[in-house]
Symmetry: C2
Subunit: 347 residues, 2 copies
DNA sequence: ATGAAAGCGCTAACAG
DNA sequence: CTGTTAGCGCTTTCAT
């Protein structure tokens, strides 16, 4: 395969060589111009630019990667059981933020969806293959094995959400971006207290996620003396929230407020409250978490909730990674983003 | 936990050369074995395999791409305004299906999120750069310019959802995967009719999406004589559904059934129906579309709806693309997947 | 069946 | 400042 095939115009991508020839310079100079043009005299720069333009030259990424060992791509690894990614806009929004910021850095987003340890081999091979410059990982479960897998390859990584214990504190601390779960929870509960509520329950998220644990801590920060049975576990779903609410109502009929660890559970709780004849917020005040679109703003009544800037967190993750990639090689610090109470009608 | 990590496998990734040397064969033979081992004598195959194992050899993708002109990656392009990707689990599920099937084919998923024509340049450059072997595109708007952009590069493509007119019928027909929107809508309305309902309204989706149009057509197939004002436009959101329902109730107080073009709008309609003192399904029967988790199954009452196999559609898209990539080069046919009525309590 | 050798398209010393 | 010269790691004729 040496001669150019005349009839397949798609195969005819011009190379740097062609650009150089057309501009009357060497390949090296053409390369310099394509990569910013530093240290090349202006007239030459323009000749090359013109040639690039006329030929419609586009650099061959593979060739460039081969020599620079940089691939201009970042892997986003999401290790999450189906039920959440199916129903939670959380990832969609975070990915939107990541995508935007990655675009700004001219980097590609390679999506790696992991569904249990069966996929670790694949991810391992991929990471070991050095196909990406860095990794953005969502490891929301404290017992997740993924951090261990990732850390084995020393590929620059930033976590979304505070990793659980398996992150092995002895290792180099991997930076993460998370919202102020604990502070947000405090704000939610304090709001309820400021409303004069006396018996405040908490519908918690799964205990294997740091965000759940942090929100419980926030609740306890404000109500250290509260009856432990006022905290009931949910699973971040509407149904789970409904079940937890029913349980709470059964054991604490005198309840006058609830802080649910997310909006989905709050909406489930809302329905149960209605069925039991409790008016919201008159009888029971309710605060959620996330300010999830199409949920918090459309329930009846709309939810008072704690907003976290999910998209901004996504962008931040990319910024930290780029800082690590292009900076002096030191690990950047983790970032905790602020939350904000959004007052609607439920509390 | 344990001592210092054996940092032997640093930056020095073994090359094919190293494998060949260790196995006592030429690079060419080593390459053959790594790529399936066809035409190499068994003993040699084993020697090479052993060397690969011992060295932990992983092929350098860039080098391979450079010569084969294959990159083992597929781009997923989503051109969607924020409000939907933020609130609709649809894409999450479809991507899950795509991811699974891509994994099975050992291909990577490069995610390209497009937000308006400002991003076309970037996508254009990327596609023109030949960075991916194929494209899976979601172009849900009939006025979308993306198909035009994509078709310019003749990169093998499969669409998710039937493209609108801008697909230029004169061009080579690009295959797509879509569910039977029209048939599903017919099924929904027929169900309502079989329940003895006489005045059946339809809350439609945005007119710039073929799925909305097809569902309207399905409604009309069953009720060709229905008053046109029984069809009210929504926007696929909860709020939009609520508004449309209020409108419908105002103009057709005698309504006894509604078919909403998706579950989100159905849930909005449900709330408005409740506020107006209409019991569901006694006074007004309601059918949705999608069978969206955490929506259709958790409303009160739970929604009777039309289920579409979103994940399966994602897998199918990949299969069609692979067929095009590895097959005889002919465009595969589009696929329409069946829908199914899921009976719950709302109708 | 195997090996030698020629690149794929690009960047990065190193000269000039 | 610019051109020359080596490769980056791999696949693939083409001989043997």
């Amino acid at each position: 395969m040496s001669g150019p095939t005349p009839d397949s115009s798609r195969d005819a991508r011009p190379t740097l060589e062609a650009v150089a020839a057309r501009a009357g310079v060497s390949r090296a100079t053409a390369s310099r111009v394509v990569n910013g043009g530093a240290g090349v005299r202006q007239p030459l720069v323009e000749q090359v630019r013109k040639a690039v333009e006329e030929l419609g030259y586009i650099p061959n990424h593979a060739a460039r990667t081969l020599v620079t060992r940089r691939n201009g791509a970042v892997a986003v690894i999401i290790d999450e059981p189906e039920f959440r990614i199916f129903s939670d806009p959380f990832f969609s929004r975070q990915i939107r933020g990541i995508s935007r910021e990655l675009n700004a850095h001219d980097a590609q987003l390679v999506l790696l969806l992991v569904e249990g340890s069966g996929d670790f081999d694949r991810v391992t091979r991929y990471l070991a293959g050095g196909h990406v410059d860095g990794v953005l990982a969502f490891s929301l479960h404290t017992d997740d094995e993924l951090p261990a897998v990732i850390s084995r390859f020393r590929v620059p990584t930033v976590y979304g959400g505070r990793p659980g214990s398996s992150g092995d504190a002895s290792e180099h601390a991997v930076p993460y971006v998370d919202c102020d779960n604990r502070g947000g929870a405090r704000e939610a509960v304090r709001h309820l207290v400021s409303l004069g509520r006396q018996r405040i329950g908490h519908i918690a998220g799964p205990r294997d996620q740091t965000s759940s644990l942090d929100r419980i801590d926030g609740y306890r920060d404000v109500l250290p003396e509260a009856d432990p049975s006022l905290v009931v576990d949910g699973d971040f779903t509407v149904e789970g929230g409904a079940r937890a609410m029913a349980h709470l109502l059964e054991h604490h009929p005198d309840l006058d407020a609830v802080f649910a660890a997310n909006d989905l559970m709050a909406s489930g709780a809302l329905r149960v409250l209605g069925r039991h004849g409790r008016r919201v917020p008159e009888d029971v005040a309710l605060v959620g978490f996330d300010d999830m679109a199409q949920v918090a703003d459309v329930t009846d009544p709309p939810l008072t909730t704690i907003r976290q800037d999910v998209e901004g967190m996504g962008r931040l993750m990319v910024q930290l990674l780029m800082q690590r990639l292009n900076g002096d090689g030191t690990e950047p610090d983790s970032v905790i983003t602020p939350t904000r109470l959004i007052r609607r009608a439920s509390a």
